[in-house]
């Protein structure tokens, strides 16, 4: 086990295109770090540079106090789970898992013991004699993980390991990975474009955009104190709503009425012209249901509902609004970058599932202004980010992690204990 330290890592391809641009990232020993971003943001390239499958153009890659830039993958002692598993089809499951041990010339009895242990953890005992071709997707995935955990690697690297599984299995395997990581307490770097995985698995999440780090923070900090428009739009599903706004003193004029700001945020936005207000769907509510005590913290407005989606436990309403040309272009650009296609400017709001608001009618909504962020539309910068509050969230998450790791270590190798833990963590 070791920490991983990246200092000003750059990856430039032959045509001069920088896939990874000046990335510096410290991953602590035992930490679960997520690399996330839309396709083409350089997250996989970065992971492959850690493991040594991709050359580093410039910068230092330090694993456990040793600079590994010029080491071959086999000398870095890392284990990796590939997106398509990359199992060896001509070997049995046993030999697949044992392969790293065979290469290191481990004695036979030790190989058998360690493969059996790994198979126990992953519940693969009855499949050890089968060939990968005869296994289901989830079983193959577990074999790939078995191959990773069978030797004492410095760190685990996952390259979108769940993207080939169906949704239900993905949820299960996510829990399993989380449980395993906590139990083994091993440094883990996990690449994904799925933000559910990013939010649930990571101690910290590193959001990348076009090869550059946007923000590294705990999932909570990313969600509550995003550093810019990109992170705010990427984290959260349905995504954050961005409304055009103009400043008038302490008030922001939005298509959904005026919004009062507190002193800190008012100071941050004063003297600006056109702005974007970011409000998460759950900060909206059907005005008729809102708690009287909460009502003064926000504003109410009337709007026509385009579509509603009732999901049982929650309900979404889509409210179209008009935006100036320049804001529309900005938002369209952003959604293209986030791999989605916003055809019209509309707000997605989450309302109580018992709400009787109907499609095509006008309805009254309430909007909580306390947690709204204000962004500069040209630079995308979050003008109202509270860095201290954010850092506090990440610090709390770090404390939680330390506690969990301690607990897992004191519990030792008990598998059933690990099981219960895993369920809680996920």
């Amino acid at each position: 086990m070791a920490s991983i330290e990246m200092r000003n890592i750059v990856k430039q391809y032959g045509d001069g295109f920088p896939a990874v641009n000046d990335v510096s990232l410290d991953i602590a020993d035992g930490e679960f770090m997520i690399l996330v971003g839309p396709s083409g943001c350089g997250k996989s390239t970065l992971l492959r540079m850690v493991v040594g499958l991709e050359d580093i153009t410039s910068g230092d890659m330090v694993i456990g106090d040793k600079r590994v830039n010029d080491l071959a993958p086999r000398d870095r002692n890392l284990s990796m789970v590939f997106q398509n598993y990359a199992l060896y089809p001509h070997m049995t499951v046993f030999e697949n898992i044992a392969f790293p041990l065979r290469l290191s010339k481990t004695p036979d009895d030790q190989v058998r013991r360690r493969v059996t242990e790994a198979a126990d953890v992953l519940e693969l005992q009855e499949h050890l004699d089968r060939k990968p071709a005869n296994l289901s997707g989830g079983q193959r995935q577990r074999v790939a993980m078995g191959r990773a955990i069978v030797r004492q690697a410095e760190a685990f690297l996952f390259d979108e390991p769940l993207s080939n599984l169906d949704a239900k299995l993905r949820g299960q395997m996510r829990t399993e990975i989380s449980r395993l990581q906590r139990r083994l307490g091993i440094t883990t770097v996990y690449v994904t474009h799925d933000q559910t995985e990013a939010m649930t698995l990571g101690d910290r999440v590193c959001v990348l955009r076009k090869g550059k780090i946007q923000q590294v923070a705990s999932p909570r900090e990313l969600y509550e104190q995003p550093v810019n428009l990109f992170v705010a739009g990427f984290i959260g599903s349905p995504p954050m709503n961005f409304l055009p706004a103009t400043v008038e003193g302490r008030r922001l004029e939005t298509p959904f009425g005026a919004m009062e700001l507190d002193d800190r945020r008012a100071a941050a936005v004063s003297g600006r012209d056109l702005l974007l207000v970011g409000i998460r769907p759950e900060y909206f509510e059907d005005a008729s249901i809102v708690d009287e005590a909460k009502r003064p913290h926000g504003t109410t407005f009337r709007a026509r509902v385009d579509v509603t989606e009732w999901l049982g436990d929650q309900q979404y309403a889509y409210i179209p609004y008009d935006a100036p040309e320049e804001v529309q272009n900005q938002l369209r650009e952003l959604s293209r970058e986030l791999d989605s296609e916003a055809l019209r400017t509309q707000a997605i709001v989450s309302i109580d599932s018992t709400s009787r608001i109907r499609e095509g009618r006008e309805a009254e909504f309430w909007m909580d202004s306390r947690k709204a962020h204000v962004f500069d539309p040209s630079t995308g910068e979050n003008l109202t980010r509270d860095a201290e509050a954010g850092a506090e969230l990440t610090r709390l998450a770090e404390e939680d992690r330390q506690e969990q790791v301690e607990e897992a270590r004191s519990r030792g190798e008990s598998i059933s204990g690990g099981d219960r833990r895993g369920a809680e963590v996920a």
Binding site: M80, A86, P100, L103, S104, G137
Partner: protein, 277 residues
């Protein structure tokens, strides 16, 4: 598929099988005919006889045939083995590595493959005589490599390209050197390709006539196809048709056996289950 269509497919299939197998059946039938039967115009021999086979295996023609058979086996197997190993390395490099002159190598291989053999046989004859390779095993193995290597490299690199690159990367991360990854992961996965290539190379060398007849003069190195051309009848008035037919049947047997043995290895789809599914 309608019934009518199906019938046509069956009829067509049978026609093709007859077209392809009739000459072979004829050769087999000829090999069992006695001298008086040969020209009687009937398909089946009036009386089955092993005369032709005993003539070439133990009789007068055995001096010509048996050493030729031994030469053919030896030379062709060595040439095939060398071609397979060399083309395995070459194809791996072509499929996996980026190096200058890759296109040139593939282009040259193709050019060599389509170059008419007959045009280099005369200069080769002179060169071989001067450097002492004429009428020796290496004197045939080397030209056979020039026939088999290009096609082997082409087919094998196609097989190597099919293997997911992640396989090899996974092996490297697991702690394998490039050589270990090649030997323990890539080669086993490419085994069907290796066998297919080896069989194609074997056929090409086994069937060669031009080099065989031009670069040998005695039974020291003369291969079977060349020896067949030198058969003579029991007397100068008898055509050696029967014994040639018998020899032809015998040289066909190894080819058939080879295909039957490796048929199961030449199935594609060994990589099933390597990646997602």
């Amino acid at each position: 598929m309608s019934r009518r269509e199906k019938t046509w497919w069956i009829v067509g299939g049978i026609a093709i099988i007859i077209y392809a197998l009739f000459p072979i059946a004829w050769i087999v039938s000829l090999s069992f005919k006695g001298p008086s039967d040969i020209a009687n115009g009937q398909f089946l021999p009036t009386q089955l006889t092993w005369e032709n086979y005993s003539l070439i295996l133990t009789g007068a023609a055995s001096d010509l045939f048996l050493p030729a058979l031994r030469n053919s086996f030896g030379i062709v197997l060595i040439a095939t083995a060398i071609a397979s190993v060399l083309s395995m390395f070459a194809a791996y490099a072509i499929a996996r590595l980026d190096f200058r002159g890759k296109k040139l190598i593939l282009g040259t291989a193709l050019a060599v493959a389509i170059f008419p053999v007959i045009s280099i046989v005369t200069p080769l004859f002179n060169v071989w005589r001067n450097i002492g390779l004429y009428d020796t095993w290496p004197g045939l193995i080397i030209p056979y490599l020039s026939l088999t290597l290009p096609i082997s490299i082409w087919t094998m690199s196609a097989f190597f390209r099919e293997i997911p690159w992640e396989m090899e990367q996974a092996a490297q991360v697991d702690g394998a050197t490039t050589w270990q990854a090649f030997r323990r992961v890539i080669v086993p996965l490419a085994a069907p390709g290796v066998f297919t290539t080896a069989i194609i190379a074997f056929f090409i060398a086994w069937n060669d006539f031009v080099y065989g007849i031009s670069l040998t003069s005695t039974s020291a190195a003369r291969p079977v196809p060349a020896a067949l051309g030198l058969f003579s009848g029991a007397s100068q008035f008898v055509d050696p048709t029967g014994s040639i037919a018998a020899a032809a049947v015998i040289v066909t047997i190894p080819v058939i056996v080879l295909v039957l043995i490796f048929q199961r290895r030449i199935v594609a789809g060994l990589t099933n289950g390597a990646v997602k599914g």
